[in-house]
Amino acid sequence: MTNSVQLIAEKLIIERGGRTILNDVSFTAGAGATLLLTGANGAGKTTLLRALGGFLPLTGGTIRVTPADDETPRAELIHTVGHSNAVKVHLTVRENVMFWSRFLGGSVAAEDRTDRALGAFALRDLEDVPASYLSAGQRRRLGLARLLAAPRPIWLLDEPTVSLDAASTERLARVIDQHTATGGLVVAATHLPLGLNNTRELRLGVEGGRA
């Protein structure tokens, strides 16, 4: 994992369906901190996260990750957890995490990472249960477990607390804090205060958005 990773967005302009969603958004997110995206519904939080993850074409501006590394494309440094959990209901909880662990992180130490991810999100007791029997909150935790199943420095989280109870939200906050404390970088769109250690806020939608 790179220690001083930075995610730099400069003068981002993003249009969807002929409408300008984001206009001239610039920010720098550095390692060791969480950047919270706030703003009303439709302010462009999801759009910005998807653009950062590389899923949307930019109309203008640039997104860079430093230090630049020609070997690894940007997408492989980033975990994106969006509204969908990427959980297969016909696989057990453990099989779900194990698959992402192997597929994203390679087979070396995949078991260990799976154990750690299941432990961090309190899924150990459920590991042999088919994911179809999980509640919405448990599925959300299973979706989030992907973050720890493969090590990546940048996490983009879109409304990560949806359907989580208080204890699970607290657990997620600890996982995020630990990630930033070890040189990771988190960008999260959220309406709720998570109680995180080291945060900055980027408010979208009002005056173009600057941080």
Binding site: T72, A86, V87, S107
Partner: protein, 222 residues
Amino acid sequence: MTRFWTLVRRDLTLAVREGGAIGTALGFFLLVVALMPLGLGPDLNLLARIASGILWIALLLSALLSLGRIFESDSDDGALEVMATSSLPLELVAAAKATAHWISTGIPLALLAPMLGLLLNLDIAAYPALIATMLAGTPAVSFIGAIGAALTLKARRGGLLLALVVLPLYIPTLIFGISAVSAVTLQTGAFVSSFLILIALSLGSLVLGPLAAAAALRIQMQ
């Protein structure tokens, strides 16, 4: 490469656990072939003569039923986007999923075909040729099908559109598949030449299918 097989193995596990896809394809194959003698009458010579054509067309239609599922569930639950961020190129993701489709649908259909040949009075001597051509031809069905599945991923009622996109592309496979089997049953032409062209078609689609499917997926994901 381990990532490739990890994905193939997961898709096969899912195909077995979901069950529906393979069962539907095999059941449809059986029904279409079983209806033919009822429609055409009990003329055994006629049935034997057209058996290879009926089996091949029925196989293509049955495979078509399950093509839509290649990318559908992974697109619905967001897994496809996560896969796009892996170090495995999207081309190989598409190839892995098409491979899993071939193993879970193509091979069972090819192995069921001789049993259905009985219903059509197909010459027993033609069975090895029938199985061989179907095993050699079905990779093309899965890999060309993956292109259609990727193109129609976000289309509502994409199933019918998928058939319109994909069936014309199956024509070469169909022609050489039938002519290889007919070469044995009717002693027309040489089996080997048709069979080799069939293999060439499959190998070609093995290369081009994933490229085209990945390009279509990239457009769909934006």
